[in-house]
């Protein structure tokens, strides 16, 4: 499915006019993008490292995962909204950038994984879940989100 028409529309939209003309606005939105990324990254690290039994061992993993999930979702929403704004400034450049597509694909996989596999599985009592399934959940999550972050950073160098 060719999304060129979407990027061309975004590149000529009113949003792009603002993001291209006002560097200060772009910088502030980027700040929110990075803050949201920190929130998401923090929630992922805390919950996944707890599932692996590395941090906060005295706190039930159900408590940590449930509380982290809420802030993960907020961070994700802010990141997507700010990401769309930032993308509008360089839409055509991003369309032809391989690392951008790597990031988007891994982001999509990550979001689908969290809401269709991880969250439904972790709703059960963690003691009743197969320990290898718990470990794989944590390792998969850490791997996917690391790829999202790394390919996002790589966009600037490619």
């Amino acid at each position: 499915m060719d999304l060129l028409f979407l990027f061309e529309w975004l590149d000529s939209s009113a949003l792009a006019s603002v993001s291209k003309a006002y560097g200060g606005v772009f910088a502030v939105v980027q700040m929110f993008h990075l803050l949201a990324m920190s929130v998401m990254g923090g929630m992922i690290l805390v919950s996944d490292l707890r599932l692996l039994g590395i941090v906060l061992k005295e706190v039930p993993s159900e408590t940590i995962c449930e509380n982290a999930q809420k802030w993960f979702t907020i961070g994700l929403i802010v990141m997507v909204i700010s990401g769309i704004f930032m993308s509008s400034a360089v839409a055509m450049k991003l369309y032809y950038n391989q690392m951008f597509w790597a990031k988007m694909i891994s982001l999509a996989i990550g979001v689908i994984f969290v809401y269709t596999i991880r969250r439904p599985l972790l709703r059960y009592a963690h003691d009743s879940i197969n320990p290898w399934a718990i470990r794989m959940t944590a390792i998969s999550s850490l791997t996917i989100w690391f790829i999202v972050a790394a390919s996002g950073r790589w966009i600037g160098f490619s």
Binding site: A102, F113, P120, L121, A133, M136, T137, I139, T143
Partner: protein, 43 residues
Amino acid sequence: MNKKTMLERTVIVFGVVVIIGAIWFYSIQVGDTLEILRLAYPD
């Protein structure tokens, strides 16, 4: 098979696929970096 068992098996298979995919992805990035270094420093 109940839902929990299905999710457990899915996440284990998914995890293996993700790990293999990550190794492949980073091997490409490392390969690209080494190629750039080779071009930049041919000696």
